[in-house]
Amino acid sequence: MRAADLITASVLILLGALVIVDAMRLGIGWGTDGPKSGFFPFWLALIMVVCCAIIMAQQTRITTRHIFVDREKLRPVLTVLWPAVIAVALMEWLGLYVASALYMGFYMRWVGRHSWFAVVSLSLAIPIVSFLVFEKWFFVPMP
């Protein structure tokens, strides 16, 4: 838990620093007609960096036995995440409907171990239904 907290806080500090640098480029002071563009982001990022630093300091003092996530539990999370990422990548060139049919079919077969009949019929039915709902009834075009 502590390690994860420290990592998150440091990532946020880095992001904050990035924002501060960009804000400086835009100008953080008073322009001809009011505060310059960088004014608001600059102060936001500055306070964020300070807060994260305090969080880090707090974390180094307290020790918790909690671990962020153990390997046993991480597995199901990743089995959801990786296929989803692949499905999104497939959507770019297969289109949303084909990719989601593949994704659903894959997940039901691999994780749920449902019968092929259920897998094929559901993974075809759901994209078709959503196609009808979105494109025919509400005229929202999809890829």
């Binding site: 994860a4 907290d5 998150t8 946020l12 992001l15 904050g16 924002v19 960009d22 804000a23 835009l26 008073w30 007609d33 009011g34 505060p35 310059k36 563009s37 608001f40 982001p41 936001l44 990022a45 306070i47 964020m48 807060c51 994260c52 305090i54 969080i55 707090q58 962020f68 996530v69 539990k73 991480l74 199901p76 999370v77 089995t79 959801v80 995440l81 296929p83 989803a84 990422v85 999104v88 959507m91 949303l96 989601s100 994704y103 659903m104 997940y107 039901m108 994780v111 749920g112 171990r113 449902h114 559901l122 759901i126 959503s130 979105f134 509400f138 929202v140 075009p141 999809m142 890829p143």
Partner: protein, 508 residues
């Protein structure tokens, strides 16, 4: 003032099309509320694109109906499955599930739905009377006042939200920083894009909501390895009528919980703490306090009344001030902007049919809602018997479709996945997500209010303290920001032991 307006509203709300929209909304909303990983906020976000082709009034009726449905749906899973579908139904499980276990599931559900309805009605009545007044006051507000109110909004997350105040502040700041990415509306300069054209449009909060709440929640529930072992229950007319006969006995609980709910609800992050507070109060004042936690019907009534009252109250600041009281209200606010309406006090004078149609639809929506959930409980409960391996990819696909539909952009689906991972990590580390979303929504408004105020004052922050209304609100906000620092000191002064940490997910 008043009567003719609300009549006008009912004329709008009771057209066949709008009633049909309300029924659909409640049906979808209840399903969304029952499903893990899909709550009010992302349900509304996913279906927002669907409303683009509707007239705005029907659109907002659909969205609010989804919201009511989600509020009702949370109660079903709490009572029958001991799984709170929404954070504010956690307190309902304390007594609802034991009741279902001992065969009183029908009674518990009837009590839950009825109290939800009563709580909602109470808040709607108050909104009907107070909204126009508040809007009139708000018409006189300038940029300093609006910025002060926004400070207050976020300070109440820090002061009342529970959890680590620093992490809450960081969440708020991340939201604001994300909101500044892209074109600066005042000077027209590009900010924080670092040369990537994809970042020029900035981050859309609807995508963030779908990712943070939808995908993040799914990942969490997969990790926890959810299994649904539900209690079967029959609900029939006799059970309903019998329960209705007992419920008037608890009128004190109803009144108390409604007031707590409304009071907590119009401030951000209110519904969840309201339901816990109301449960604690009911237990404190009840004659059979010993039975709480073992299946006491009053223990179902109290949190449900408060949660629903708070959920409805969150709409009040959204329509009067243009500042949402909850992430769900924030998404609706985003809808208003997309439909070309300027949220805020001017709505009351410029679009009376919209505002009053919305208010009237809250009455009709909740009446339809309570009847529908009572009639179709077995159907909604059956949804949870769908195997998890089908539900999980289905929810992810629906989320992806929803994010794509907002701007027809592939990049948005990637953002959604990214926000999903961020949401998962933040949830595990207790960074609250609701303030982040609210800050992302309000970012542009807050920044322009701040800059305009500073232009008015030639760059001096004193402007927030010299105008009377702004000063009062700013001071209150500063007090709330300081509350986490004051409380331990105050406790030590009184010699009381520090209160046990109460986990409160500000997420309504």
């Amino acid at each position: 003032m008043g009567v003719e307006n609300i009549l006008l509203g009912f004329q709008v709300a009771i057209t066949p099309f709008n009633l049909f929209v309300a029924v659909i909304g409640i049906l979808l909303g209840t399903i969304i509320g029952v499903l893990p990983g899909l709550g009010g906020a992302n349900g509304v976000a996913i279906l927002l694109p669907v409303t683009f082709t509707m007239p705005p009034t029907s659109g907002i009726i659909l969205l609010t109906s989804i919201y009511w449905g989600a509020l009702f749906g949370g109660a079903i899973t709490s009572v029958l499955f001991n799984i709170p579908g929404e954070p504010w139904s956690v307190a309902t499980t304390f007594d609802g599930y034991p009741m279902a276990r001992s065969g009183d599931g029908g009674k518990a559900l009837t009590a839950a739905f009825t109290s939800s309805f009563v709580g909602a009605l109470f808040s709607i009545l108050l909104i009907t009377f107070f909204a126009p007044l508040l809007a009139e006051v708000a018409l006189r507000f300038g940029p300093p006042e609006f910025f002060a109110i926004q400070l207050l909004t976020f300070s109440s997350f820090v002061g009342l939200g529970g959890g680590n105040p620093l992490k809450t502040i960081v969440s708020i700041l991340i939201g604001f920083i994300l909101a500044t990415v892209g074109l600066d509306i005042v000077t027209g300069q590009l900010r924080l894009t670092f040369g990537f054209t994809g970042l020029m449009k900035g981050f859309d909060f609807i995508i963030a909501v779908i990712g943070l709440f939808g995908i993040g929640e799914i990942l969490l529930s997969v990790e926890e390895g959810l299994t649904f072992r539900g209690v079967k229950t029959g609900i029939n007319l006799r059970v309903v009528l019998d329960t209705w006969k007992i419920l008037p006995r608890f009128w004190r609980t109803f009144v108390r919980s409604s007031i707590i709910g409304f009071w907590m609800g119009f401030k951000p992050g209110g519904a969840t703490p309201a339901s816990f507070m109301s449960y604690a109060f009911a237990k404190r004042f009840s004659k059979n306090a010993g039975n709480f936690g073992k299946g006491e019907i009053e223990g179902v009534v109290a949190p449900e009344t408060a949660a629903h009252a708070a959920g409805v109250a969150a709409i009040l600041p959204m329509i009067t001030l243009g500042i949402p009281g909850s992430p769900t209200a924030a998404v609706m606010l985003g809808g208003l902007i997309i439909w070309g309406l300027q949220p805020g006090p001017l709505l009351f004078t410029e679009k009376p049919d919209f505002v009053w149609g919305l208010i009237a639809s809250m009455y009709t929506g909740n009446v339809i809602g309570v009847l529908m959930v009572l009639a179709f409980v077995p159907f909604f409960a059956a949804i949870l018997r769908i195997p998890f391996a089908i539900l999980t990819p289905l929810i992810i696909v629906v989320c992806a479709i929803g994010s794509y539909a907002v701007h027809n952009s592939m990049l948005d689906i990637w953002y959604m996945v990214f926000f999903g991972v961020v949401g998962y990590v933040f949830k595990k580390l207790d960074y609250p997500l609701a303030p982040l979303v609210l800050a992302l929504v309000l970012g542009d408004l807050a920044e322009s209010a701040l800059r305009q105020s500073l232009i008015m004052s030639q760059g001096s922050l004193a402007i927030f303290f010299t105008r009377p209304i702004a000063a009062a609100i700013t001071l209150l906000a500063i007090f709330l920001f300081a509350l986490p620092l004051i409380t331990p000191w105050w406790r030590r002064m009184r010699g009381a032991p520090p209160a046990p940490f109460k986990p409160v997910a500000a997420d309504s």
